[in-house]
């Protein structure tokens, strides 16, 4: 028979009220944490246990009847056994022992306990005096022993002291409860158990709510320290080293490491309290906890690591946090924080903190990569700049650059020498500094041409030498200045003169013997005419003379052709603004008499509106005349030669069509080659050196123009010549060399 003890009753009620308050607090703070859930259940069943005992005591003391007693007894039994079992579950969870289906098993166990006691209640097996059911002591002793074993086993880990004390007090309460019958400790045992549960709840509230709140300030400080270590450290390895140290210290861990992704593997780049042998340690993608970060891109918390695939022995590794370093949706590395086997066990909040650090590490790593790329780029640019400066500096061509105010910003050695500049002249205006007229008089034109991205060229003389000066702008969108490159063309000009002279001399030297031979042949023919020679002999002699004449004439034609072509190639162009219609009129005028001899009709039409272009009038006219002459040559008597000028976009196209024999397709690609002559049927009697079209092509190339043809055998040939239209406002280029 239990006696009602008001003091213990008050203690129990107070404990109950406090436990209830903690229960609400814990569930409010985080109802989804499994640890919180277990503590909540422990508190609930402890409350039930207490409530049950109170009900039993009240019913006995105040004779409230059997149902009241039975309800109290039921609550006491269920609360007692369940809280005992829950303590074990709570401890397992707290030290990180994971078994599959932990929570379902825990809940199932609770269900069994509740069911068993309900069964006992229903079948009326409750003793009239308050006694525990026969199966409960065994369970109590079993779970109490297991709970104490865990506490002993993990005494060196980071189990909070309050949790350990609370757990021992709860076990003490449970065990003392078994002594109830003989020692009358029932209500006292519940008080002890309640106090123990209360201590556990305080421990949890402290670790989950009070400590985190307290440590928020220090977290901010730690993050601040990490940021400082990133920004202060000049190199990536220093910054990462700072982060691993911060991570280990902040999370109260034994070691930490940062891995960097390199193609398909992760390489250890920074570590804290890890063996030196692990520096540069590499882990394949997908291999173990670290390698898996590359695949899953998910942070992992392992309370107790037991696999063999970690880079450290499982004998020394306890709890592990592995967090991917993600930047721009790519895993660029991983942060691993490790606690020893008997050390702290990481919780969810540790993982969150580790993720914070990982984000910082990712930024640091990326910034460093960008910095390295920038440094490398800068180095390449510097090298390229130096090389360019060395090349420009050592070139034999004077190069000088000025800014928009015409102040010298660069002059190579040759430019200094030629323009007689001195060391201090850089930064000074070029106007009036050099004697020669380096700045062209039409400077507005230079600005206009260079602004459009072009090059302005002009000739100038410096100390008896002739230079071709080419000016281009500096800068992309706006003109930052100009650079002038001077080419010494004194020798080129001399060479040009010598070449022209040689052509003239060769022409003279080759043509004179032919003239002499032909003249003497003519005299010989006269002599034979007048001499008394037998007709047969005369015929033979005239045949021979005829052959010699033909060969000499051929030789003369070839020499003239070669000289014409060489002259066109060697000579510069006298640029002028040409008009396609005037040029065509001249060419047609020139050839009209020849066409008239063969009664060939000319059909000339000009449909172009853009008619002007820059060219050498004489050479271009000759090229067009050559084509028309060819057309006349290959057109039978009474035929027609059509000349049509039109515009194709910004091109002026000359189209010259004959109704001649046509050019077979296999010959078309050869007709512009020197000395090539078509041997198609019908061309046998048409004379030519095979140099005319070659000359036309050369002229067109010098005008950046194009020539092409369409031809059909037996129908005729059309030659097309195109040259770029230029408005009349354009500036004429200098003579080309």
């Amino acid at each position: 028979m239990l006696s009602f003890n008001p003091l213990i009753f008050i203690v129990n009620v107070c404990t109950l009220a406090l436990a209830l308050a903690f229960l609400l607090l814990i569930l409010w703070y985080d109802a989804r944490s499994s640890l919180n859930q277990l503590v909540a259940l422990l508190l609930s069943f402890t409350i039930a246990w207490n409530l049950g005992i109170i009900l039993v005591e009240i019913s006995q003391s105040f004779q409230f009847g059997v149902p009241f007693f039975e309800l109290g007894n039921f609550l006491a039994q269920v609360g007692f056994v369940a809280s005992n079992a829950l303590l074990y579950a709570l401890l397992m969870r707290a030290v990180g022992i994971t078994i599959r289906f932990f929570m379902p098993i825990a809940l199932a166990t609770l269900a069994v306990i509740v069911s068993y006691n309900s069964f006992v209640l229903i079948v009326g097996a409750i003793p009239s005096d308050f006694q525990v059911a026969s199966i409960n002591p065994a369970i109590i002793l079993l779970f109490s022993a297991l709970s104490l074993l865990i506490i002993w086993r993990y005494r060196q880990s980071n189990l909070s002291k309050l949790l350990v004390v609370g757990s021992i007090v709860v076990v003490l309460g449970h065990v003392s409860s078994l002594l109830n019958t003989s020692l009358g400790l029932g209500t006292l045992a519940t008080s002890i158990g309640s106090i123990g549960a209360l201590i556990i709840a305080i421990s949890l509230v402290r670790s989950s709510i009070i400590v985190p709140l307290h440590s928020q300030g220090s977290q901010i400080k730690a993050l601040h320290d990490v940021n400082l270590s990133i920004t202060k450290r000049a190199t990536e390895s220093n910054a990462l080293q700072g982060i691993v140290i911060q991570a280990a210290q902040w999370l109260d861990a034994d070691a930490a490491a940062i891995f960097k992704t390199e193609s398909d593997m992760m390489r250890l780049v920074a570590s804290y309290e890890l063996p030196e042998a692990l520096n540069d340690y590499q882990i394949q993608r997908g291999s173990g906890l670290v390698g898996q970060l590359l695949v899953d891109q998910q942070a992992v918390l392992v309370r107790q690591y037991n696999d063999d695939d970690f880079f450290l022995s499982k004998n020394v590794v306890g709890s592990v946090l592995a967090v991917p370093l993600i930047y721009d949706q790519k895993v660029i590395g991983g942060l691993v924080v490790i606690c020893g086997r008997y050390s702290k066990i990481f919780q969810e909040e540790d993982l969150q903190q580790a993720e914070l650090l990982a984000a910082q590490a990712a930024v640091s790593m990326s910034v460093n990569d960008l910095f390295l790329q920038q440094t490398s780029l800068l180095q390449s640019l510097t090298e390229a700049h130096n090389q360019l400066q060395a090349v420009i500096g050592s070139t034999e061509n004077p190069v000088i650059a000025v800014d928009r105010s015409l102040r010298i910003i660069f002059a190579n050695v040759k430019a200094r020498e030629v323009l007689q500049l001195e060391d201090g002249d850089e930064g000074r205006s070029i106007l009036g500094m050099v004697d020669v007229d380096l700045i062209p008089a039409n400077f507005k034109e230079v600005v206009r041409v260079t602004r459009a991205g072009g090059t302005h060229s002009y000739a100038l003389n410096i100390a008896d030498r002739e230079y071709l000066c080419q000016i281009a702008k500096l800068g992309e969108d706006r003109i930052e200045g100009w650079v002038a490159v001077l080419n010494d063309i004194t020798e080129l000009k001399e060479l040009d003169r010598v070449k022209s002279e040689m052509i003239r001399m060769t022409s003279h030297d080759l043509k004179n013997p032919i003239q002499a031979a032909l003249a003497n042949l003519d005299l010989l023919r006269d002599d034979i005419e007048q001499a008394k020679v037998v007709d047969d002999t005369k015929y033979e002699i005239e045949l021979s003379i005829g052959n010699i004449e033909r060969q000499l004439s051929n030789m003369e034609r070839i020499i003239s052709g070669i000289l014409d072509l060489e002259r066109v190639k060697a000579s510069g162009l006298n640029w002028e603004l040409c008009s396609a219609d005037v040029l065509l009129d001249n060419a047609v005028d020139l050839l009209a008499p020849i066409a008239a001899i063969k009664s060939i009709q000319f059909d000339v039409s000009v449909d172009a509106t853009k008619l002007t272009f820059i060219g050498d009038r004489v050479q271009f006219e000759r090229a067009i005349a050559n084509l028309i002459e060819n057309a006349i040559k290959f057109t039978p008597e009474n035929g027609c030669v059509t000349v049509h000028v039109y515009n194709d976009a910004d091109d002026i196209v000359f189209e010259i069509t004959d109704t001649g024999i046509g050019i077979p397709e296999n010959m078309q690609s050869h007709i512009f080659e020197r000395f090539y002559r078509g041997e198609q049927p019908g061309a046998e009697d048409i004379s030519g050196t095979g140099l005319g079209l070659s000359l036309v092509r050369t002229v067109l190339e010098k005008h950046q123009g194009r020539i092409w043809l369409k031809s059909e055998v037996g129908v005729g040939t059309t030659f097309y010549v195109s040259v770029r239209y230029q408005s009349e406002a354009v500036k004429l280029p200098q003579r080309q060399y």
Binding site: R504, S507, N512, Q515, L518, N520, R567, V588, P593
Partner: protein, 230 residues
């Protein structure tokens, strides 16, 4: 008829000389420019055949200029180097009436020598023998041309060209007729001639040769002389 042949190539000058002698010419041959100029002054030839490129200080162009300083004797130039229109123009500017490019056949040579002489001696039989508009004054009979009262020297060929155009003033003379009437039938294929000579003539009589008012071009047809009222 006396012809002076100046050419540094012995074979050529001998062959040309022999051919002209056969045609009834009296021929004097010289091997260089200086000798040629001396012979011109001592022999008073009716026609001069000059090679352009010759050794020594005096080439054909110089000799031609020196002769033109004192006489209107027709000069035929032979060149082995003329390739461009400009070369021909240079020769004509030096006073030549005819510019032949080597090699030339002897029959053609003789025909051209005779044609040149005909041109030089041609009597002006046209009805209208003078023209004066204040700026240009031409006396066809006396073979005088004045531009703004300043006497202008025309070579025989230039004069003949002007005369033919003036005779047909207001009408277009086509290229073929021009070649035939001025130079002769032998020149019918020398299509460059009219343009080159007209250009020369314009330079001598027009105020602005690039915008001529007397000798006008009719494209693809020929040329026309336009009179102006003084």
């Amino acid at each position: 008829m006396k012809a002076l042949i100046v050419d540094d190539e012995q074979d050529i000058r001998e062959a040309l000389g022999r051919k002209l002698r056969r045609e009834g010419f009296e021929v004097v041959v010289c091997a260089n420019g200086l000798e040629g100029l001396k012979s011109f002054h001592s022999e008073h030839p009716d026609i001069v055949v000059l090679d352009i490129v010759m050794p020594g200080e005096m080439n054909g162009l110089t000799v031609s200029k020196r002769i033109r300083e004192v006489a209107d004797t027709p000069i035929m130039m032979l060149s082995s180097q003329a390739i461009t229109e400009q070369d021909v123009i240079d020769g004509l500017n030096a006073g030549a009436d005819e510019y032949l490019i080597k090699p030339i056949r002897l029959n053609e040579f003789v025909a051209r020598v005779l044609a040149l002489m005909r041109r030089a001696q041609a009597a002006v039989s046209q009805t209208e023998q003078s023209y004066d508009d204040g700026y240009l004054n031409v006396d066809l009979h006396r073979r005088h041309v004045y531009v703004q009262s300043r006497k202008v020297h025309l070579t025989p060929t230039e004069f003949k060209l002007l005369a033919v155009l003036m005779e047909n003033s207001g009408r277009v003379v086509n290229q073929r007729d021009l070649l035939e009437q001025v130079w002769g039938r032998e020149y019918i294929d020398d299509v460059y001639y009219p343009r080159v000579y007209v250009s020369q003539l314009r330079r001598k009589i027009e105020a602005d040769p690039s915008n001529p008012v007397y000798i006008l071009t009719e494209h693809r047809v020929g040329y026309r002389f336009e009179k102006h009222n003084g």
